[in-house]
Amino acid sequence: MSSMTIRPSACPACDAAPAAEALAGRAAAPNARILVSVPAVHCAGCISTIERDLAKMEGVNSARLNLTLKRLSVDAKAGIEASDVIARLDRLGYEAHELDAGTLSMTETERQGRELLMMVGVSGFAMMNIMLLSVAVWSGAEGATRDLFHLISGLIAVPTVAFAGRPFFRNAWKALRAGRMDMDGPISFAILLTLFISTYETLQSGEHAYFEAVVMLIFFLLVGRYLEFRARSVARSAAQELAALEVPRATRLAEGVESVVSVADLAVGDIVLVRPGGRMPVDGVVTAGQSELDRALLTGETLPVFAGTGTQVSAGEVNLTGPLQVRVTAAGKDSSLHRMADLVANAESAKMRYTTIAEKAAAAYAPTIPILSLGAFFVWFWISGGDLRLSLNIAVASLIITCPCALGLAVPAVVTASSGKLFRKGLLIKDGTALERLAEVDTVVFDKTGTLTMGTPEPTNLDDHSLDDLRVALGLADASSHPLAQALARALRDRDLRPARIDDLAEVPGYGVEGQWQGQRVRLGRADWVGAEAGAVTAAYLSVAGETRCFSFADQLRPGAETVVRGLQSQGKHVWLISGDVPGVVRDLAQRLRIDDWQASALPADKAAKIEELQAAGHKVLMVGDGLNDTAALSTAHVSISPASALDAARAASDMVLLSRDLSPVADAVRLSKTAMKRIRENLWQSGIYNIIFVPIALFGFATPLWAAFVMSISSITVTLNALRLK
């Protein structure tokens, strides 16, 4: 029941460093294997659409879609990048995320999975064969026939145990050396002792041999192990390897010469060049250039801010329109990005390790098994007046009956069923204990930008403008990479408008775009630049022949945002909205979604502090967020979810990743986790009750191998069926 979780570091640079090496390694290979996650695929149509289309793509040798893992593997010639494949899939209407194929763990996981499955197969076939022989013994074979059947059973069972029992022996040995007691200790003890006694009995022409029970125990436990393993590996391979390909490099300017260096090599006082579209590698002050900065990931502000000479910039901000030269004021450990990572590290270390229900059950149960059987041994040794063989037989019978066959399946069966359901809805569980923690949640905190909203602005008042104005605006907007301009261009093109012909187009970084239309100067950009009054809302301004027009923008709501808030509230959860954005915008959104409690202008530390305060008051908080400013809050919260579009630092800090654009699976997940926990508890009780009934039978010496086989299979089957009942 040992669950292994790997938490990548919260600092994006640390994640990206190995990615940079992997990137270099991959470029050298003649053929590239590209892996992308395509969460929306679900049917035969998707398979043939995607595979056929990619087969036609230049440079692609073959493409195969794995529907179970919702993952596309492309074998392509060198030069084809994952981004090309993702763009192609996007045109087909499938959202895709890159997976890192270079990591070794992927093949390692596949190998481990196959090995486990092979053990399940071997023990399964051995069990069937031994059972055939055992049925003959149970129906009355005697004397030499029985001994022969026992002997053949033993000849099958011993190599099977040696092969398929290894995972248990290995774990038990590890635990023993570390001085711990986990479930695998008693299991290994039971397996080995039973095997030994049964072999002895067979050689002595004894009546009872437990070969089938031993192999059956191994088989059912391995099935549980395999389910547990699969649930974990599917989530891990997809969520953690959503590539962190953002390579931490910067362009340094020294005496007019540009050189690309690692961020780690930058020193305070260096001048770095940040091109439009690039991310600030360091904290610094702008020394030359004008542009606008997107701070959404750092602060949650939707509006880009102006940057000119003297503006302070922080690592992680995105440069939008013009090239900037930045003098480094803090790099590496001192940068604001790194301070954020420290905040996360503090939150993580303050969090106590969560003890799962399975671990609690195992801890209570593990010592009982050897104690009961030892007790039985000594009591019968005393009663029978020193009959070693009889007492050993009874001890073995109680050992094998108390062995937690169903307990090993109780939790993995439910977890597999529920994580499979959530995966089909587009939600990946990264951490094995997340489902349990989610079931305890009573308060849900949402971030605004990028979580409840898409983080992309949309024009709201296009109908107020004349056709000519719209066409001029489109002509100008096309020339800019500013998010507002691009959103405007997209919206206008969706209306089938054709851009007006504009000459002498020029972008003035930090201000807007200007050009000549029918001999007049036209401008699209900031209010003061085009000569308009700035309004209260996010807007871009157009000036045509001295007259100005205002295009106002609003952030688009993420699909399912209303459903999820309504769904959570109807489940009796308390919903909060905490954002780094300005109060006006946050209040509007809170009112629109009917969220009563909201907080605006929250700094990253404020968010984490608010969650700490809620948790100190006894609430269990689910945090849903995507930005760098959310990472500390995500790791402070009891359980956390981030959308796949989130920054990798945020994804790394959260327990679940939402692959779909739609937010509504979050409410389903909370509901499902409660049902899943109910099923797990039922299962644990069920397997407990079997033991309560049959342990006395074993202790009084009435148990036969038939009883043991019967109890094991019945309890395992009922537990599995109960898990499948999950709706």
């Binding site: 035969a44 794995n66 529907l67 076939f125 053949i152």
Partner: protein, 59 residues
């Protein structure tokens, strides 16, 4: 009871055959994508016999 001399080896052989078949299918990756395989049978690309030629496909 002499029949056991044949039946036991026979049952062991059959069991072994089943195991070998399972290991073979495992190595061939037949359990890697159960869901996709169940959907792929609906895809006409995988038909193993040539389709009758339609009028509009001819020439």
């Amino acid at each position: 009871m002499e029949v056991l001399a044949i039946l036991i080896p026979a049952s062991l052989f059959l069991g072994l055959l089943g195991l070998v078949a399972f290991l073979w299918s495992l190595r061939k990756g037949q359990y890697d994508d159960p869901e996709g395989d169940s959907q792929r049978i609906l895809d006409p690309r995988y038909e193993d016999k040539p389709k009758p030629v339609d009028e509009d496909q001819r020439g």
